[in-house]
Symmetry: C2
Subunit: 335 residues, 2 copies
Amino acid sequence: MSDVATLPPIVTAIRESRRALARLLTRIENHAAASELAALYPFGGKAHLIGVTGAPGTGKSSLVNWMAKAYRAEGKTVSILAVDPTSPFSGGAVLGDRIRMRDLHGDSGVFIRSMATRGNLGGIARTTKDMIRALDAAGFDIVLIETVGAGQSEVEIASAAQTVIVVEAPGLGDDVQAIKAGILEIADILVVNKADNPGVESTLRALRAALDLGHRVERVMHHGKLMDVPAVPVIGEDSAWQTPILQTIATNGTGVSELLTKIAEHRAYLQESGVQRLRERASISAEIEERLRDLLLARLIERVGAAHVQATIERVLRREIDPNSAAQALLADSG
Amino acid sequence: MSDVATLPPIVTAIRESRRALARLLTRIENHAAASELAALYPFGGKAHLIGVTGAPGTGKSSLVNWMAKAYRAEGKTVSILAVDPTSPFSGGAVLGDRIRMRDLHGDSGVFIRSMATRGNLGGIARTTKDMIRALDAAGFDIVLIETVGAGQSEVEIASAAQTVIVVEAPGLGDDVQAIKAGILEIADILVVNKADNPGVESTLRALRAALDLGHRVERVMHHGKLMDVPAVPVIGEDSAWQTPILQTIATNGTGVSELLTKIAEHRAYLQESGVQRLRERASISAEIEERLRDLLLARLIERVGAAHVQATIERVLRREIDPNSAAQALLADSG
């Protein structure tokens, strides 16, 4: 598949030209790249996809920059996809961080792209996956997906990665509250950044306690109480991987090489345990299902007509029929 | 529609017998009541549906109890549906609160039901809506939907209510962090409970500041920083309703009658402004769409066969085709 002679033109283009890659990513953002995505998909699957998420103020962007530098020192090519699902209008924070990356500027082995999108969360997660596929097919060894931790969004976006790093930092208020619902469940590696700041011991203690209480199950700390929350589905995984807690200082790079070692160990674990296959299968199944739901609904509306759908909704609003019967009737009408 | 002679048997049964109502709610929880829901739907639409959400520790359950007592004093019948989406295994907290409701015990004008369910969030929200429809058709003047504020779940469940009350309390850690993403956007009325506790002024200040900064837009406080987050869709609403901030002491009922007055004002606003119709239309459209997506996917799998779907997923995993082309192919195969 990687024989150069058999490469489709789009793959050759994005491997040879950063400008062609940037243009393709823009077309993906505009949902105008279905044929290119179909052509390049067979030529991906080689990159290590690493998600990095954390709340604002954790220094996550600086850490990503140091990771990129460290991978470059190993001779690996790196792309960074910075997704800010919280900032549909400006994207200022992420772009601002990028401008600060003077050390990476001018290095042809590094490619950086920010995506500050509007649109629904599911749509952003899907676009992110498609952009990752383009970066993967473009031949980068490492794809770093950086996203702001602010709710459900980072869980969705991080699910596109193979190894998920959750970044915490001391001094962001109550240590226990900082461990937000749903975040620990997606972490393959926990990093306490700003490890030279006061309060690091208490952050570490809170994280260790939360991990002990149940990694990948539904228990999280919330307002200082133990609570059950809906967790990311566990897809037949064993518990052979113990989520490590590392310490870094991203202002000077302390701890970054240990982090890269741990990331490599996690990749080896994923591949040797078969967990990567399980995750890929679950992820691809979910994606195809979601795409099918959208396509099926669009086809139904086309077949029965938007006016008929509207008329049915009106009947429900007048309480002539209930929502379930209305859906069943539209299904029958669509043939 | 309310002529007794024309009532279907299920409506007569749930209006006359609490036991029949309880059994119907169990069948709804078990997804085995489609025909009853179809029969009773035309006889609903009269109750005021009031959502009450808040983090654990805010005293939200005590407040709901006081509200129920106050409505009873006005001669109104009340049902309470307590939904705990965070506790699929025990539901202990919600049930425990109910046991404490000695004042309501034995009053035939009050009906209480707890739902501590497992299952996905969308499924819980849909079951909640169906249970509300049964309580509505059973003739209660007031349906109180109480839910634990712990992430996205309360937003989904609260969306089934007409008037949403968000309960905060002083002393739950950092005041600013207590105003969680997505919560302010869904509040029609904010209540600071435990208003006799220390720190109430700072909680009020934080809430007022957050409201001033942009009610129903995407700005929220997060880790002490202003952030944009995806907001609940605003469906053509004007901004005539200014979210009030009330203070209550649920241990002795202080402020509850003012709360009921404000709830009545909100209902009048919803009806006179036409906002209620807009919200109902958006909610019913979304529900029918979601039901259709499920039905369409189930029909597709039945038509093309689960084995063919699996084989297609395998082809994507082998990178022979991309996920979008796979979905398109399955769509074409389903006719």
